[in-house]
């Protein structure tokens, strides 16, 4: 196989025992991607690192091929462009545009429109190189070239970024005929707040707190991924008690999000009963988490070297009992959702992403599993403690809202089992190891299956424990473009439901 050739040449990748770091030349950049695509691999993330003193600028692409991460890294001279990967991995297009906005390193790609940069900073300025000036009034509104659809009776409906409800800002440009959607174009970036720049101003030992706040609903996933990268650069072994508790946190986070989503999906189908019930369950679980870990959402659980909080025996047992009770209530509600003709009618057949399309576009995570893409890092590339606590893979092939709801129901079941198993079998020992001093100039990768999909954190340190570059990557980057395909041919009023069934990140994506 062609990939073996590359892997043989590659060096070790900190943070990923099975992974490999492959420095490539300019003419190898695309062939590596081609070979990954040919073996059915996926693009996990793409990011650029601007020049830092003597260290050259670089563009990196993280792939997942044959269940193991492979990072291709291409060093660039000032002003040099790299070949875009959008032909092989369509999701790369927006990552390249965002990278260009932040670092000034451009790809050779047909779409050169800005992505993260609205009119907030000048086009020739790269926030990662020098902090842009704060924008001052009068505010300018940039003229973004949406793709026009023309024809008899076609009209555009602009939605957002300010919505009728209190939700995050995103702009959706629908081209419709009657009620039917012909095309949807998304525009995001309204919640860009300079997270990647901020990382470079923090000490490596403190930045896990920022990582946990990259995307509030995936706090454990991000902070774990960050700590995984940092710990590997420091060659620190995390005690088993800590990894088990991190996994408890990760699964609880999955439960919280799934409960919230299942309720919201019922509400969007006009079935407010579902929202009330699931909200109650989520709140009960959240309170149990608060009494076990001291916080309702686990923003500060994962710290470099281990975990910051350990539930005492009573709180742990109580948490396990609440999780078990939640699971049995969810089973009842699943019966109600399944038997309710109106709800089923709204869910079934809405927003279909066929498995073939999902594969081609690289649909990731939960949404991918509902469209026949069985990838789950906890199953396919397990890291401790998931090598001992294997979740049962959950998947569907229908790719509609109903499938995404079903996968959520399955995962609630599976996560609640895992939480109880992990708590019952909690290893003894310390919950935190001292972090050794991390090596500089190397790349560390943290890769965690969050509730939405694979969360990747790429971390590079400079002298004195300073962060040279930290790129947190949300699976929403892969999935937002697929949403544009999922709504084609659906009717306009079904969009909120379809959008909710993906529930992609705004803030965690705009960074």
């Amino acid at each position: 196989m062609a990939l073996r050739k590359w892997r043989a040449r590659a060096g070790r990748l900190a943070g990923q025992p099975a992974g490999a770091l492959l420095p490539v030349a300019a003419d190898e950049w695309v062939p590596v991607a081609t070979d990954v695509a040919a073996t059915g691999g996926q693009l996990l993330a793409l990011w650029t690192t601007p020049r830092d003193g003597a260290t050259a600028a670089a563009v990196s692409a993280a792939y997942l091929a044959d269940g193991a991460p492979l990072v291709a890294r291409l060093a660039l001279t000032d002003g040099q462009r790299y070949r875009g990967l959008q032909e092989l991995f369509p999701a790369a297009a927006r990552m390249q545009r965002a990278a260009a906005d932040l670092s000034g390193i451009h790809a050779d790609a047909p779409d050169e429109r800005p992505w993260l940069r609205h009119a907030a900073w000048p086009a020739d300025q790269a926030p990662l190189l020098s902090p842009p000036p704060l924008p001052v009034p009068p505010w300018t509104v940039d003229d973004y070239a949406f793709v026009r659809v023309t024809g008899e009776g076609v009209h555009e409906v602009p939605v957002g970024p300010v919505h009728a409800g209190i939700i995050e800002p995103g702009h959706f440009r629908f081209s419709i005929v009657g009620e039917k959607v012909l095309r949807l174009e998304e525009r995001l970036g309204y919640v860009h707040k300079g997270i990647e720049r901020r990382f470079t101003e923090l000490a490596a030992g403190d930045a896990h707190r920022l990582a946990a706040r990259v995307c509030g609903d995936s706090a454990v996933a991000y902070s774990w991924a960050y700590c995984q990268a940092l710990e590997s650069l420091a060659a620190t072994i995390v005690p088993p008690r800590a990894t088990a508790l991190r996994a408890v946190g990760l699964e609880l986070e999955r439960l919280q999000n799934h409960l919230g989503d299942l309720g919201a999906l019922g509400n969007d189908a006009g079935f407010a009963f579902g929202l009330a019930q699931f909200s109650r369950l989520k709140e009960e679980l959240t309170r149990a988490i608060a009494s076990a870990f001291g916080q309702r959402y686990l923003l500060d659980l994962v710290v470099p070297g281990g975990v910051a909080a350990v539930p005492d025996a009573i709180a742990g047992r109580e948490l396990g009992a609440v999780v078990a009770r939640t699971a049995s209530r969810v089973r009842e509600l699943r019966g109600i959702y399944g038997e309710h003709a109106g709800v089923r009618d709204r869910f079934a057949g809405a927003g279909i992403v066929a498995p073939e399309l999902a594969r081609r576009l690289g649909l990731a995570g939960l949404a991918g599993r509902a469209s026949g893409q069985s990838l789950d890092l906890r199953v396919d590339a397990p890291w401790p403690p998931y090598d001992r606590f294997r979740p049962k893979p959950c998947g569907r092939d229908d790719g509609d809202v109903a499938a995404r709801v079903d996968v959520r129901f399955d995962e609630v079941e599976e996560s609640s089992r895992l939480v109880r198993a992990l708590l019952d079998d909690l290893p003894e020992g310390p919950e935190r190891a001292t972090l050794a001093s991390p090596v500089e100039g190397e790349l560390g990768i943290g890769l965690i299956e969050g509730w939405r999909g694979p969360v990747l954190v790429a971390l590079e340190l400079a002298a004195g424990g300073r962060i040279r570059r930290c790129h947190p990557h949300d699976p929403s980057w892969q999935n937002w473009p697929v949403l544009e395909h999922a709504v084609i041919g659906n009717i306009v009023p079904d969009f909120p439901l379809i959008n909710k069934s993906f529930n992609l990140a705004y803030s965690g994506h705009d960074l």
Binding site: E156, G165, E179, A276, R280, G342, V492
Partner: protein
């Protein structure tokens, strides 16, 4: 026209104006209870109206005078409708001016102005909402007319007070024709008042809205009038339902003032029951896909026609 008639007429309109927000509040309260939520007070809609009346009204730059007048027209038609529906008494001087068919026309007038106003500013949502409203409206109107025809054929008049009076005169019996039309009417009520399963009054998703989408550009007193009109519309529909299917207790001219005193608490009881039933229907249903709304209303029309056929065949 006796002084009692005039009193009944005035009292009835004032009652509708005052009670309509409470009725809406009651439905919302029942809905919350049925969903195991802590319920807002019955008075919540009044607080909402007061807040809106205090607030400044903001108009879009390109709003025409139609946009500004529409709330008054819509509100006015709903008040006029309240005057000819026998909610408390059948001796209504105003009802001589308009019968049941004119009432349907009155409601249609409100719809036309509401839709025109929604399109006036030229936003995408207003137009989407207006388009959907017209689709629902043109399917709901025939079904509503058909239910009125069944009652009219039974009582040989199209005047609502006379229908109510005639139906009360008869011995309480179960009319199969009226049973069919009652179901049809309930479906029309749900569709016309933007309730689940056709529309969702509680939604914040602008893409799925019908009624709310048309009000997005309104604010301040204009919005207050529009919301009050929507509450009045629901109240009116409930009272049309009572007049056709539960007319007992409506005050008769012969009963004198005592009749009115009896009619008022009975109306409250009927409203309480109807509100609870409405909340129950809304709680157990999900919202239909928009293109299923025509099927829903076609079913209502068919049921009404069935009621008519039953009446013609059985002559009940």
């Amino acid at each position: 026209m006796t002084p009692l008639d005039i009193t009944t007429q005035l009292l009835q309109v004032l009652c509708a104006l005052a009670l309509a927000p409470a009725f809406l509040g009651w439905v919302n309260q029942c809905r919350a209870w049925l969903q195991n939520r802590a319920a807002p007070s019955v008075l919540q809609p009044y607080r909402g109206l007061r807040k809106l009346l205090i607030k400044e009204s903001v108009l879009a730059e390109n709003a025409s005078s139609l946009f500004r007048f529409a709330p008054y027209i819509v509100f006015g038609t709903m008040v006029a409708a309240a005057a000819i529906i026998p909610s408390m008494g059948t001796g209504l001087p105003m009802s001589l001016a308009a019968d049941g068919i004119a009432l349907v026309g009155l409601l249609a007038t409100a719809r036309v102005f509401l839709s025109l106003a929604a399109m006036d500013v030229g936003t995408a949502f207003g137009t989407l909402g207006a388009r959907r409203e017209m689709m629902v409206g043109f399917l709901a109107e025939p079904a509503l007319l058909m239910t009125l025809f069944v009652a009219a054929m039974i009582s040989h008049t199209t005047s609502l007070p006379l229908i109510a009076a005639e139906l009360t005169n008869r011995a309480p019996a179960l009319y199969p024709s009226l049973a069919f039309t009652a179901v049809a009417f309930t479906m029309v009520l749900l569709a016309e008042n933007a309730r689940i399963p056709v529309d969702n009054p509680a939604t914040h998703l602008e893409l799925t809205m019908i009624h709310e989408a048309m009000l997005l550009e309104y604010s301040g007193r204009h919005l207050a009038l529009m919301e009050w009109a929507a509450a009045l519309k629901l109240f009116n529909y409930a009272c049309i339902g009572f007049a056709l299917f539960l007319p007992w207790g409506t005050s008769r001219e012969a009963w004198g003032p005592a009749g009115l005193a009896l009619a008022a608490p009975l109306l409250l009881l009927k409203l309480a029951l109807a509100g609870g039933a409405l909340a129950l229907i809304e709680t157990v249903s999900a919202k239909l896909r928009v293109f299923r709304a025509p099927e829903f209303l076609a079913t209502a029309f068919l049921l009404a026609v069935l009621g008519l056929l039953v009446h013609l065949l059985l002559g009940d």
